[in-house]
Amino acid sequence: MTDSNSSININDQEITERLAFLQLNPRDINLLKALHDTLKGRHTAFIDDFYIQLQNFDATRNLLTDSALVERLKRKQEAYFDRLTAGCYDLDYIKDRINIGETHHRIGLKPQWYIGAYHYYLAWLLPEIQKQLVNDQTACIDTMQAIVKVILFDIELAVDAYFQADHEMLRLLAQVFQSNIEGVIITDIRRQILHVNNKVAAIAGYRNEDLIGQPITLLLPAQEREAFVSHWQDIKQGEPWQGESLLQHCQGNLFPAWINVSGVKDETGIVTHFIVEFSDISAYRTAQEALSQRTEELARSNKELEQFAYVASHDLQEPLRMVASFTQLLSRRYRGKLDADADEFIHYAVDGATRMQTLINDLLAYSRIGSRTKPFESVNLNSVLQRALANLHVAIEESHAKIIYDELPNTHGDITQLTQLFQNLIGNAVKFRGELPPEISINVSDADKYWRISVQDNGIGIATEFYERIFVIFQRLHNKEDYPGTGIGLSICKKIVERHGGQIKVESERGQGATFIFTLLKTLTKETN
């Protein structure tokens, strides 16, 4: 016999005990052995007849549709019946029988069909015995008794197998029931609590025995009971209910819970029990509230920062204009009239003031993206691109740049900002060109909820370690002599893209050109800032 998964523990001692209870004695064994010899090879006819009987019932017929299986089965059954009277009921015999029982259980054959089937066997066998022992009535009766005893022994083992298999399932399900995540309560149809798992106690504070027999409403605070009246109706109809509700701890305090209530149906589809699963979501709620508060705070402080940047840059402009103008005036009027030191000092003062003016202007432009905005409107990106190219036409002509582009889609957004986005990216591609005239290609692809637009150039490229840095305000990679600028352009691009619900990144290798890729939400339900 192949090894079975069976966890049944039957030892020699128990076999002896069971057989003793059945009063299977050595004389029985001898009688069975004598019978065994006369039955050798004679089961075939019975088994064929047996299978005909099995065709009369749906439950048995449906398991026997495969004719190859039936042929195999017939041979196995023959061996089975042969072994029944062989007179050796040891551990190996028992394992074999339990295996067969497990097979029947596994295929869904209910025990009544298996046990009832012995009737057909006895109906064939008993007359056989009577015929053989017609002259010895005692031996005849005793043989019949002996065969009944071993059949009962087999049935015991089959029942063991069925029980054990079901028990195993129960053991596994019990583990599931004792969930560590959810409280689980089983109630009867009147919503009286039948079973609770340990988590219920942990969440709601009750001891298990305090809950058994109580109505489930014990856990529902008064204000929630009303709502549940209709839920129960739906659940009884077979619709599970899931939702959030307050539950009441045994000490009276309320806590938010996520609850699932479903009905358990019997074979006819009628709900007989309810299963209530719930988890305490207080911690989740607290975390969620903290998160939304933090998000709110962040948005506020962002807004404030933007406001600050705007006000600062706007208000700083006036005094700075004075500094710049009058140092320039100084330089205009007195250059070459004082000594060389004075000329140099004036030069640095003018230069510093001018640089600061550019920075403040850029900061102002940057802060305006978030704070002084027009509502989004429908935008044709082709005309946006054309506008950007027109604004850049001097740089494009001077550098002999070749620009190719896809047909671009329509989208929603701020036309001025999107123009600026294209203008900055294309402008950069022209500005950071290599030895060759710039070749710039603008492509679009469909990326689910987004348009994915790339601006690719053949310029000097960007080393990987600077991918993040280039999008940070006032971060520059080159000195001002080679490439003038404050380092605001890409941070403005990033802000514009993000305001349009997208993202921007760069792919490049030093000396290999760069590709800036950004996404734009196709449809904006509301502004993302």
Binding site: Q317, E318, L320, R321, M322, A324, S325, F326, Q328, L329, R332, T354, Q357, N361
Partner: protein
């Protein structure tokens, strides 16, 4: 024919509270070829008193062109503009807004109030001087002003 040909100096009124800007405007105008007088007032109330020749401006000349800042104490540039354009005796005087505000609503609002032109103060000195001189050249040598016409 334009102002420079009628034999008197052109009269500018500059309404500006920032002494730095006043000085810069003066500087720009001293470099000018056209003979001009520049009167200066520091807020909106003074501007109206000047134009209406109220104390202490009873002897004030009538300006040929008004240079008006928007951001003024007491009475702001918009209010001054509105009063000038509502006053039949003043409304013909050309008003040039010269401001650092780039706000769209300021531009639209002032034109609604019949401003004659709106100019941003350039941040760069060279530009600033150029702008002031352009204003001067344009208003004093190119356009025909109502003050040239004897009615």
């Amino acid at each position: 024919m334009s102002l420079e040909n009628i034999g008197r100096a052109a009269e500018f009124l500059l309404v500006e509270d920032n002494p730095g800007d006043v000085r810069l405007t003066c500087e720009a105008l001293t470099e000018s070829k056209v003979k001009n007088n520049l009167s200066i007032v520091g807020d909106g109330m003074e501007a109206m008193a000047f134009l209406r020749r109220e104390e202490p401006y009873t002897d004030a000349p009538r300006p040929d062109v008004i240079l008006l800042d928007l951001n003024l104490p007491k009475k702001n540039g918009l209010e001054v503009l509105e009063e000038i354009k509502a006053d039949p005796s003043l409304k013909r005087i050309p008003v040039v807004i010269i401001t650092s505000s780039e706000a769209e609503q300021d531009i639209l609002k002032t034109y609604d109030l019949h401003v004659n032109c709106y100019v941003n103060k350039p941040v760069d000195l060279e530009q600033f001087i150029k702008v002031v001189q352009s204003i001067e050249t344009f208003w004093l040598t190119i356009v025909k002003l109502p003050s040239e016409v004897v009615d």
